[in-house]
């Protein structure tokens, strides 16, 4: 064998270090490095142990009441057991909360279904969303089949958060595509007007837009156009999402070589065919990482609607510990709410990573 290797000029491939050898080389190479590594390990171990003791060992679990919590040194998870319905459903009438839970599941199912590639068609996707929203609205609002009507002002908790978030993204995305296309218009008046609109809205803080939608619009519009405060706030939020997303999509379009559009035109494709089949699909691929970023930020920002008086999941969390008996348990409630946010945003980013892998297979 060695003769063959010498003749053909081949040498054996370099061997990788074993795990232990790699650790020794990387973290314990000199006495100084060993010292730094040991100190860091000790600090990490201490932190993990402290959190573990607080959250698990010394914690009071579901059976305990507020009195037990006051004596304990650990976390008081009893507050979650006692108040979780408030966190998830807000001010929604207690006896009807099963409707809110089902509605929540309907929106989640809609999001999950539309995340799978087989629903990505111009026919299926709108159908899925119309069905999903139909179920959500029917369950939440009620007023038929003996279901008591529950007004939008009483909606709250996780269902409201998911409803606002998904509506903002689902209505904001088409607006973003339109704005991005208009900003590339060959007619300078249209392109500049849209550019000013985008830059104008981007220069306003989201809170100001939400306030305007909730409080100022009713004075400016005739009564029949005003609609419920919730939908005005969602419309303002969608517009805010759309201007940012429009710039992301435009960036994706600019990454395409000019030859792509030329080739489509040379084949006789018209403007819409060129945009929908050639430019936008590729632009979205280029724009995928910042798009996922924007969607995650939007999920977090839904907590801002609390300032207009909506009890989304964050505000419901605040309410959960605002009684005298549970007032000391704000850390536990915040940890719980943070875990809910984490579950959603982490899933979103993993989905983004899956999409990138999938689309890269098709691009090479």
């Amino acid at each position: 064998m060695s003769n063959v290797a010498i003749v053909s000029g081949e040498i054996p491939p370099p061997r990788h270090d074993t795990f232990l050898a790699a650790v020794r080389k990387g973290y314990f190479a000199t006495p100084g490095a060993a010292a730094v590594t040991s100190v860091c390990l000790a600090l990490i171990a201490l932190a993990v142990w402290t959190v573990f003791r607080w959250a698990v060992l010394d914690a009071v679990w579901s059976s305990g009441g507020p009195d037990m919590c006051q004596q304990a040194t650990g976390a008081c998870w009893a507050v979650i057991a006692a108040r979780w319905r408030l966190i998830f459903f807000g001010l929604y009438p207690y006896d009807e909360q099963w409707r809110s839970a089902l509605a929540c599941a309907a929106i989640l199912a809609t999001v999950v279904v539309s995340c799978f590639p087989f629903s990505w068609s111009a026919k299926r996707l709108p159908l899925v969303w119309i069905a999903g929203y139909g179920v959500f609205y029917g369950l939440m609002r009620g007023g038929f089949l003996g279901l008591p009507t529950v007004l939008e002002t009483q909606w709250g908790g996780l269902s409201l958060t998911l409803f606002v978030f998904s509506t903002v993204v689902v209505t904001g995305m088409p607006i973003a595509v339109c704005l991005a296309l208009l900003r590339r218009s060959r007619l300078p008046v249209i392109a500049r007007t849209v550019a000013v609109l985008i830059d104008g809205i981007r220069s306003l803080p989201l809170v100001a837009i939400l306030f305007t939608a909730a409080i100022i619009i009713p004075y400016a519009l005739p009564h029949f156009l005003v609609g419920d405060k919730l939908y005005r706030v969602i419309a303002g939020f969608s517009l805010f999402f759309a201007v940012y997303q429009a710039e992301i999509i435009r960036g994706g379009m600019q990454a395409l070589p000019a030859g792509q559009e030329e080739a489509a035109h040379a084949l006789g494709l018209n403007y819409w065919q060129t945009m929908s089949r050639i430019v936008l699909p590729q632009a979205f691929r280029h724009a995928l990482p910042p798009t996922i970023n924007q969607v995650v930020i939007t999920f977090m920002e839904t907590s801002l609607i609390v300032i207009i008086g909506f009890f989304e999941v964050m505000a419901s969390g605040n309410a959960a510990f605002s009684t005298a008996e549970w007032s000391a348990t704000y850390v536990e409630v915040y940890v719980f709410v943070a875990a809910i946010y984490f579950a959603f945003t982490f899933t979103l980013s993993r989905y983004g990573a899956y999409l990138e892998r999938r689309l890269n297979v098709a691009r090479h």
Partner: protein
């Protein structure tokens, strides 16, 4: 729309083209009969690519007239898409759609523009992919192919629209040397089948072999227009002689 041999396929009269205030084409006139093969050559910056891109209105012209298959190119959008259906184009950088497979690249326009159903479009696409000798790559993405293979797919894609005229804009300039001949072979076969072709290219061997006429451009004007044997053996203009000595000299 179909053209008989001998009919005028391309008729350009006194074409002028500006980029802003900068004029790039001066009084270009050229008439091409159906079935004719024209090779357009010239130094870089001579306007040859701009000229050929005017013929399917990827570039607007400012003066003169262009008649393609009897229809004048004007500002009317419906008319330009009608012309583009019948005029295929092959680009220097292939411009395949990277998010679509080879087969999808080939059936897209026939389905959207010619309203063919998928089955018929796919059968036709496979026919042309076989003609460019690459049917086994139908399911691959363009990024998985070599440059020569991509350019052959680009030719098949254009042919799937069953064009009357094919425009080639430096189809081999972006290829590695060993891939040039596989593309030229396909183009030669196409020429032998009687396709009306206008090729911007520096492949002088190809020009000698298939061209009915060679058009030499310099500084935005047609300097010389001759049969290949005349052009290569007895160029009349100093500029043509210099150009030929530079590209054939080594």
């Amino acid at each position: 729309m179909s053209t008989q041999s001998g009919e005028i396929a391309v008729d350009v009269k006194s074409l002028a083209k500006f980029y802003g205030a900068h004029q790039v084409l001066f009084d270009v006139s050229l008439s091409v009969a159906a079935g004719e093969k024209i090779v357009i050559c010239g130094p870089s910056g001579s306007g040859k690519s701009t000229f050929i891109r005017c013929l399917n209105k990827l570039e607007d012209h400012q003066a003169g007239t262009i008649r393609m298959l009897g229809t004048e190119l004007n500002e009317d959008l419906a008319n330009i898409n009608e012309i583009r259906r019948d005029v295929g184009m092959v680009f220097q950088h292939f411009n395949l759609f990277p998010h679509l497979t080879v087969l999808e690249n080939c059936v897209l326009a026939p389905m959207l523009v010619r309203r063919q159903d998928r089955k018929a479009a796919e059968e036709q696409a496979m026919l042309y992919l076989e003609r460019v000798k690459i049917p086994q790559k139908a399911g691959s993405y363009p990024g998985e192919l070599s440059g020569g293979q991509q350019q052959r797919v680009a030719i098949a894609r254009a042919l799937c629209m069953r064009p009357e005229i094919m425009l080639f804009d430096e189809p081999t300039s972006a290829l590695d040397p060993e891939m040039i001949s596989e593309v030229l072979d396909v183009m030669i076969e196409l020429a032998q089948d009687g396709m009306t072709m206008l090729c911007v290219t520096h492949e002088m061997g190809f020009a000698r072999k298939v061209a009915d006429r060679v058009v030499f451009m310099d500084k935005g004007r047609i300097v010389e227009e001759a049969a290949p044997s005349d052009f290569f053996d007895n160029p009349r203009h100093e500029r043509s002689k210099l150009f030929l000595s530079q590209i054939l000299g080594h």
